[in-house]
């Protein structure tokens, strides 16, 4: 790799750090309740992805081998999903009367010339208030990115440093636009075939119900390879249409990462740990922030916190 030209002291400092530091090596010192809550929500999210199909499959299994090996599934009063009250992976979840639909799915239907379900309103409001929080808090692909980042650190320790290519920041917007145009022209919801959380939900479901994998497994494999060997969290940064949509919608979110200038020592750790190319150290945090607050947790002097954006 060619030595980059030095533009400022800060970025030179950052470059020097990047060559030695792997984001996964940074310890989240005082994430405290925020990080544990985030991990708990991510665990619940994965719990739903795996647990709901397992529960439904188990209920069906018991029903179909109920009486002397004779299927009684046909005579069930209602399906297991109806009796448990939970349907769907995180992209389209229903818990009892609470209906949620992913805004990306709703937009896809909208551009293809269909109507939008009322179930999209709550997720839409949440995204507009909290920004791109789905990516850091709920998306089942987020822990996979963490694994990929750890793998990058491991490989670097063995002397095989992976590239972290910086594509244009708006790449995901281009991906979103392209996919929506193809959705409108093709009349088929293809954006959801390139959207990792939806793909994960489907593949896990398929595995549990039919014991096999579909084409989505290949998509996930490519995403993981992209993240590991090309750009850290590259799928979330540059490719994911959902992340792009949430970035657009979260533009007016009142939350951001607030820095206490008096405490900050310009150590760059926050910038290095950020998977979303934000720069809390220079107060440049835009709607691309996924609210993971790793920067807050990694700061050695507690100079950062999640707070209200000042105009």
């Amino acid at each position: 790799m060619a030595t980059p030209t030095v533009r400022s002291t800060k970025s030179a400092h950052a470059r020097a750090r990047l060559d030695v530091l792997q984001p996964a090596d940074l310890r989240l010192r005082h994430g405290g309740r925020y990080q544990w809550l985030r991990r708990a929500v991510l665990t619940i999210s994965w719990g739903l992805v795996i647990g709901v199909p397992l529960l439904h499959a188990a209920t069906l299994e018991r029903a179909s081998h109920g009486l002397f090996g004779v299927s009684i599934a046909r005579y069930l009063p209602a399906s297991p999903a109806v009796t448990t009250g939970i349907v769907g992976a995180p992209t389209s979840l229903a818990i009892g009367p609470l209906e949620l639909v992913d805004p990306l799915a709703a937009f896809g239907v909208l551009v293809a010339g269909g109507g939008v379900a009322a179930a999209v309103i709550l997720p839409l409001l949440l995204v507009m208030v909290f920004g791109r929080f789905f990516c850091g808090w709920i998306c089942p692909y987020a822990p996979i990115v963490t694994v990929s980042t750890a793998l990058r650190a491991l490989l670097a320790r063995f002397g095989w440093r992976q590239r972290d290519v910086r594509l244009p920041r708006r790449s995901n917007m281009v991906a979103l636009a392209l996919l929506l145009v193809l959705t409108a022209a093709g009349g088929s919801q293809i954006a959801l075939l390139m959207y990792p959380p939806a793909v994960i939900g489907r593949e896990v479901w398929r595995l549990v119900y039919f014991g096999g994998l579909g084409s989505g497994a290949a998509v996930l494999g490519l995403c993981f390879a992209f993240d590991t060997f090309y750009a850290r969290a590259g799928t979330c940064r540059y490719l994911c249409p959902g992340g792009a949509l949430f970035t657009l919608l979260g533009r007016w979110s009142p939350f951001t990462i607030v820095r206490d200038r008096a405490l900050c020592t310009d150590c760059t750790l926050c910038d290095v740990v950020c998977p979303m190319m934000q720069s809390p150290m220079t107060d440049k945090v835009d709607a691309g922030c996924d609210r993971c607050a790793r920067c807050v947790a990694v700061c050695p002097v507690k100079a950062l916190h999640v707070g209200r954006r000042t105009p």
């Binding site: 060619a2 990047l18 229903a94």
Partner: protein
């Protein structure tokens, strides 16, 4: 940009990116769905269905008999859309799936035999009399008649041999007859046409 800079984009990266976008456009090229399959009950007509289905798998999740399965086709227009293989596991017409669809790709249909009879058409029944046990006189078989949710309307037993006679007007295309038809015969088939009546 003040964020910590990573590696620069090389010429090879650019070519790779262009190739990836090209592949994306080729794979996702616009066009009609190719699938000619039984869609779940209440499904919109073919082109409209692929437009509305967000591939959330909810319909299959509530199906009490695992009749709904998903396309693994590489063609993204059909990929992950739901369909039914009646000969292996037919629809029991419980209408659960029609009520959970978040985008109304499956239109909600009341769980009422008369309403279902009017609004559900998964396909039309096609009988090959040459294969039918009753019509060929190879045996006494009335399985299709026994499993049909609309006996005497969708299927009647006629003649000396009591062979089945199907009526496309009254048949909802659930495929229970196709599933029940004995392995050696498989004389009745539901021809997919998709959509609500």
């Amino acid at each position: 940009m003040s964020a910590p800079p990573g590696d620069a984009v090389s010429r090879r990266d650019r070519l790779g990116l262009a190739a990836a976008i090209g592949a994306l456009v080729v794979v996702f090229r616009p066009g009609r769905s190719l699938a000619r399959r039984l869609r779940p009950p209440g499904a919109l007509p073919p082109a409209e269905f692929e437009r509305a289905c967000i591939r959330c798998y909810r319909c299959a999740e509530v199906c009490p008999v695992k009749a709904i399965r998903f396309d693994t086709s590489i063609d993204p227009r059909d990929s992950d859309t739901p369909f039914i293989v009646a000969s292996e596991r037919a629809c029991i017409a419980c209408m659960e799936c029609t009520h959970v669809c978040p985008t109304d790709a499956l239109q909600p249909i009341a769980r009422d035999l008369e309403v279902i009879s009017q609004r559900v058409r998964l396909g039309v029944p096609v009988l090959s009399k040459g294969k039918c046990l009753a019509w060929t006189g190879k045996g006494i078989c009335r399985l299709c008649y026994y499993v049909c949710p609309y006996p005497e309307r969708a299927v009647r037993l006629v003649g000396v041999r009591q062979g089945p006679e199907f009526s496309a007007d009254a048949c909802i295309g659930c495929g229970l007859c196709e599933e029940a038809c004995p392995e050696g015969a498989k004389a009745i088939r539901i021809d997919p046409m998709g959509g609500t009546a």
